[in-house]
C-alpha cells in the first residue's frame, strides 16, 4: 500500500516535470520578442510588529524580510526578527525574549503581465529560534476556596532555549509604487524540536508565536518592501 503511494507520488512528479519542460520548449519556439526578467533583492520590514508594540506595551518586536528570484518563478526568501513578549495566562505570567531566522523558498503562482513583478505565492521555510523564558509569577491551581493559594513571584529565568520548525505559507506582494511592494503573508507552522525549560514549557516562541498543544502554530505578517534591482536578463 505504502509502496503504491510512493510510486504514484514519483510518477506524478515526473509527469509534472515533463509537462513543464514541454511548455517551455513551445514558448521558445513561439516567442520572437525577448522578455525582460529582472533579478533583484527585495528587502522589507514587517509593519504589523511595530504597530502591535505601539498598541500593546507587553509586546516588542521587529522582523526584516528579503527575497530574490533564483530561477523562473522560484524565489529564495528569508525572514529575520526578534521579539520580547510578556504573556499572562489564567494561573501564570511569563516573558519570552529571543531572535529567529527563517530560510526557504516561495513559488510565485501568479502570471504577471510583461514588466510586472506582483506575486501570489506559496512557500516553505525552515526556521530556527534562540530565546530565553522568564517565569514571572504563578498561582498554584487548587480546587475550592478553603485554602486560598498565594501567588508565587518566581522570576525563574530559563536561558539558552531553542526551537526548530517548518512553515508552510501563502501570501501576496503587490507593487504599489515603482519598486515599492505591499505584502501580506499567512503561515502554518509545525514544530520539529524544542529545548524545553525544566518544570515549565515553551508556551510562546519568537517567530513561532503561541505554541498550541499539538505543536502547531500560525502567523501573519504585513510587509512594506523595496526592490533593489541587480541585473536584468532577456529570454
Amino acid at each position: 500500500m505504502i509502496q503504491r503511494h510512493i510510486l504514484i507520488f514519483i510518477i506524478s512528479i515526473l509527469i509534472h516535470f515533463s509537462a513543464n519542460s514541454q511548455e517551455q520548449r513551445q514558448e521558445k519556439e513561439q516567442d520572437s520578442v525577448k522578455t525582460k526578467i529582472n533579478y533583484a533583492i527585495r528587502v522589507g520590514v514587517d509593519i504589523s510588529k511595530p504597530i502591535k508594540s505601539f498598541l500593546d506595551e507587553d509586546s516588542k518586536g521587529l522582523e526584516l524580510t528579503g527575497d530574490m528570484r533564483i530561477i523562473n518563478n522560484y524565489f529564495a526568501a528569508v525572514e529575520l526578527g526578534f521579539e520580547d513578549v510578556l504573556k499572562t495566562e489564567d494561573y501564570l505570567s511569563f516573558t519570552t525574549k529571543g531572535s529567529y531566522i527563517k530560510l526557504g523558498i516561495n513559488y510565485n503562482a501568479y502570471d504577471n503581465w510583461i514588466g510586472m513583478n506582483n506575486q501570489i505565492y506559496v512557500g516553505a521555510r525552515y526556521a530556527f529560534s534562540l530565546f530565553e523564558q522568564t517565569l514571572n509569577s504563578y498561582t498554584p491551581n487548587v480546587d475550592g476556596t478553603y485554602f486560598i493559594p498565594t501567588t508565587v513571584e518566581a522570576g525563574t529565568n530559563f536561558k539558552d532555549l531553542n526551537a526548530h520548525w517548518l512553515e508552510f505559507l501563502f501570501g501576496m506582494k503587490v507593487e504599489t509604487f515603482k519598486n515599492l511592494f505591499l505584502g501580506a503573508q499567512f503561515s502554518v507552522k509545525k514544530m520539529i524540536s524544542t529545548k524545553e525549560p525544566e518544570n515549565f514549557k515553551n508556551l510562546y516562541i519568537p517567530g513561532f508565536n503561541r505554541v498550541f498543544s499539538n505543536d502547531l502554530g500560525i502567523g501573519f505578517n504585513y510587509t512594506i518592501s523595496y526592490n533593489l534591482p541587480i541585473f536584468n536578463t532577456y529570454k
Partner: protein
C-alpha cells in the same frame, strides 16, 4: 481551481491547529485521601459516621449529622508546611497533625502549576476514636488511591 485548492488546504490546517488548550482538563493540586478500616480486622473497610471536619482554628470544611463514610478527601494547606485536622465522630474529636514538603509541578498552559506534597508525616495524633494509622505513601501526586489508612 488550483488557487482555490491551496486555500481550502490551508483553511483545513488552520482548523486542525485550533485546539482547546484554553480549558483546564488535567488534574491539579491533589487532596489527601484517608480510608477507614476496622481495627480488629485491618483488611476490612469499615465506614465511620462523621459529624464535622475542620482545620484547627479554622472554619468547618463540612458539617454532617452522622454521615457515613468509608473514605474522605481533605485539602492540605498550600501556603504552610503543616496542616492540623479535627475530625469529629459520634461527639468525640481526634486531631491529626500533618507535616509535608511542597513541590510545584507545571501542568499545562491553562492549568498552570499544581502543588504536590512530599515526605508526608503525621507529627502527632490523638486517640479518641482513631486507634491506629498507616501511611501508605509519603508522596501525594494524585487523589485516586488512599494515602493514609485510619483504623478504628
Amino acid at each position: 481551481m488550483k488557487k482555490y485548492s491551496t486555500l481550502i488546504i490551508l483553511a483545513l490546517i488552520l482548523m486542525l491547529s485550533c485546539e482547546k488548550d484554553d480549558i483546564c482538563l488535567e488534574n491539579t493540586t491533589p487532596y489527601l485521601m484517608l480510608k477507614f478500616y476496622s481495627f480488629e480486622n485491618d483488611t476490612l473497610v469499615k465506614t465511620i459516621d462523621i459529624d464535622s471536619i475542620r482545620v484547627l482554628n479554622k472554619g468547618l470544611i463540612s458539617n454532617y449529622t452522622a454521615k457515613s463514610f468509608d473514605s474522605i478527601q481533605i485539602p492540605l494547606d498550600i501556603n504552610q508546611y503543616t496542616t492540623s485536622y479535627q475530625i469529629t465522630s459520634e461527639k468525640t474529636t481526634d486531631t491529626i497533625y500533618f507535616s509535608y514538603d511542597r513541590k510545584d509541578i507545571f501542568v499545562s498552559r491553562s492549568c498552570g502549576y499544581k502543588t504536590n506534597f512530599e515526605n508526608l508525616a503525621i507529627d502527632s495524633i490523638t486517640n479518641n476514636w482513631i486507634k491506629a494509622y498507616n501511611i501508605n505513601t509519603t508522596t501525594i501526586d494524585n487523589d485516586t488511591t488512599a494515602h493514609i489508612n485510619i483504623y478504628h
